[in-house]
């Protein structure tokens, strides 16, 4: 029981980190980035590369958001900004990018599973189980970063500019906000969050190019259940999906758990199209 609770907490907090990157990119740019899972797993490969080079995995964890953020900016400025007014085409293009990035990773690193050692060994007694310390570090770090993102968008001058662009792009530009620069920064931040999540989760993943897809799928469940109305909704959605998957996996296979959650999400869309955690009138 204690183990299920802690696993649920870990899944929820890390999912929030991945999904919030997806949500801010969608919220501002209306871009559904199907390559988000690959950005996530590239973060993992950065840690693997740094570790293989003989450096501390922590260097990789710090480097990953920078690398992945830079890739995000290149993709956004180079390709996606030409498609902002064609949402379905953007979807197809990011799907193409997702496949291409996955294949490039296979060519660079091979298709086999890579293992990276856990940077913080040892266990801590908590809720009656000896829980790996690194997982507790993960929960804490994810919670802090997600909270920082929420505060940044709600309270800082940068956050105010982003919200201004979301509400009315033309008016924001008239007020002297360089909206294209905001676009690029937001895309970079969203990508960097995915990279950070991938980097930190690497030791637990069994690093393979396809793993990104499963995190993409879960992130979408999170966004659908939480609703796209607010970033807080994404965090709520992550809590539901994370604890739900850990809870159901306690009794059956993870695939079945995910399928059940997916069916629940589809029924939920019919009952509450705006998601569990946002009000319909939020604009």
């Amino acid at each position: 029981m204690g183990l299920t609770i802690l696993n649920g907490l870990m899944l929820a907090s890390t999912l929030a980190l991945v999904a919030i990157g997806l949500a801010i990119i969608f919220g501002l740019l209306r871009v559904v980035n199907l390559a988000h899972g690959e950005l996530f797993i590239i973060g993992g490969y950065v840690v693997f590369a740094v570790h293989s080079a003989g450096a501390s995995p922590w260097v990789g964890v710090l480097l990953a958001p920078l690398v992945v953020g830079a890739i995000g900016v290149v993709l956004d400025r180079g390709l996606l900004r030409h498609l902002y007014d064609r949402p379905l085409d953007t979807l197809v293009v990011t799907w193409g990018l997702s496949i291409a990035l996955r294949e490039i990773l296979k060519l660079l690193f091979g298709a086999d599973t890579k293992n990276v050692p856990v940077p913080v060994p040892g266990r801590v007694d908590l809720l009656g189980v000896a829980y790996p310390t690194y997982r507790l570090v993960l929960i804490a770090t994810s919670a802090v970063v997600v909270a920082a993102v929420l505060v940044c968008f709600a309270r800082t001058a940068f956050g105010a500019k982003v919200r201004a662009v979301v509400q009315n792009r033309d008016m924001a530009e008239a007020m002297g906000i360089a909206s294209h620069r905001i676009d690029a920064v937001v895309f970079a931040v969203g990508a960097a969050l995915a990279g950070l999540a991938g980097a930190m989760l690497t030791p637990l993943l069994g690093l393979r190019p396809e793993v990104g897809l499963f995190y993409l799928a879960r992130s979408f469940l999170v966004v659908i259940i939480g609703g796209v109305g607010s970033l807080a909704g994404t965090v709520g959605g992550a809590a539901v999906i994370g604890t739900g998957e850990a809870g159901i996996s306690h009794f059956t296979r993870p695939v079945l758990a995910q399928s059940l959650l997916f069916l629940a999400a589809i029924v939920l869309i019919r009952i509450r199209p705006q998601g569990l955690f946002s009000r319909r009138d939020v604009r």
Binding site: V228, G229, I266
Partner: protein, 350 residues
């Protein structure tokens, strides 16, 4: 941050041309007849290998047409269309592993269409009633494909797991038993031809016009009295039924059903055929399926592990620079040639 799914469902399609209404024109009918005749003669002229290959292309062409009806006409992109193709194949495969005969063959056909169509009916109702369309709909279908593939791999006792289903009894149509590759090829050719003609007809009925109306401006179509939920749910159901029918055809042709048929790579292929062929044209996706799959089989030796990379980059490049696909290139060449003939008939000195 802002807006719910209902906003995401308002999608503009600037890139795809509006289909023409009215009767098919004579040159188009002639090309269609010649193409069908060519496919009918193929087994007499070539060996088993090419016949099997082209039979598979025709099955894929039907899947591409079914997605084009949904995406190119109604503007609803399914990123997981192989899931419905695979559901049809698994339904037919499971019935036919239990034995042959006319009754079982009929049941296999009925279930292969009804299971994916039924799944689409329920899903479509829940999603479209909930105001989910456009981008969200695409993501939900993507998840369907991802999860069904995993389920088919995991649920070994029912689906045969990663090994899939094999040892299916031959289809018994009463008058003839589909036991050879050639007979399976002709079954595929007849069914795909009829289904293609039926879809072309459907897009030219008032219902087909309603699909286009919804794609080009959902709110306006709604204000003109169209029931958006019903029209979308019906087209999704029809499209998935057609994909299931293609799955049914795959069983006598390949005698093998396996999990990757349901999965994301297969689903992506369908999108690739439609994009490269040209959305909203029906003929384009048929061409796209045949050309892309021919290249895939011809270049598989040369490209080895690079094929998916090429496909991924191709999707990006075609959508960015040639959103009309092969169809737009051919149409431009056709009208160019027609203009030249026209000039020759009426000399410029006149």
């Amino acid at each position: 941050m802002t807006a719910g799914p209902e906003v995401a469902s308002v999608v503009e399609h600037r890139s795809t041309p509006l289909p023409r209404g009215g009767r098919p024109r004579l040159p188009a009918l002639a090309v269609f007849a010649v193409a069908v005749a060519g496919f009918a003669l193929l087994p007499l002229l070539t060996g088993q290998h090419l016949t099997g290959l082209v039979g598979r292309f025709l099955v894929f062409a039907l899947v591409a047409v079914s997605l084009d009806l949904l995406w190119g006409y109604a503007g609803q992109l399914s990123l997981g269309h192989a899931a419905f193709f695979g559901l049809g194949a698994y339904a037919a495969g499971l019935v036919l592993t239990g034995g042959g005969g006319v009754a079982r063959s009929a049941l296999a056909l009925a279930l292969a269409v009804a299971v994916p169509a039924g799944a689409a009916l329920v899903m479509g109702y829940l999603l479209f009633r909930g105001g989910v369309g456009g981008v969200y709909f695409a993501i939900v279908t993507l998840l369907v494909s991802l999860l069904l593939e995993q389920l088919a791999i995991t649920w070994i006792s029912f689906t045969g797991g990663i090994n899939g289903l094999f040892g299916m009894a031959p289809l018994d149509l009463g008058v003839v038993t589909i036991s050879s590759l050639t007979s399976a090829y002709y079954l595929v050719l007849v069914v795909v031809t009829v289904a293609f003609a039926a879809v072309v007809w459907l897009t030219r009925t008032p219902y087909g016009r309603a699909l286009t109306a919804i794609r080009s401006h959902e709110h306006r179509a709604h204000s003109l009295g169209l029931s958006i939920v019903t029209v979308k749910t019906v087209v999704f159901t029809v499209s998935c039924g057609l994909a299931g029918l293609a799955g049914f055809l795959y069983v006598p042709l390949e005698r093998f059903v396996y999990p990757t048929q349901l999965g994301l790579v297969a689903s992506t292929s369908v999108v690739v055929w439609v994009v490269i062929g040209g959305r909203g044209t029906l003929v384009g996706p048929v061409l796209g399926a045949i050309v892309v799959e021919y290249l895939a089989s011809a270049l598989s030796g040369a490209l080895q592990g690079y094929w998916l990379l090429v496909i991924g980059l191709f999707l990006v490049v075609v959508v960015l620079f040639r959103p009309g696909g092969l169809h737009s290139i051919l149409a431009a060449a056709w009208s160019g040639a027609a203009a030249r003939i026209d000039r020759r008939r009426r000399p410029s000195g006149a």
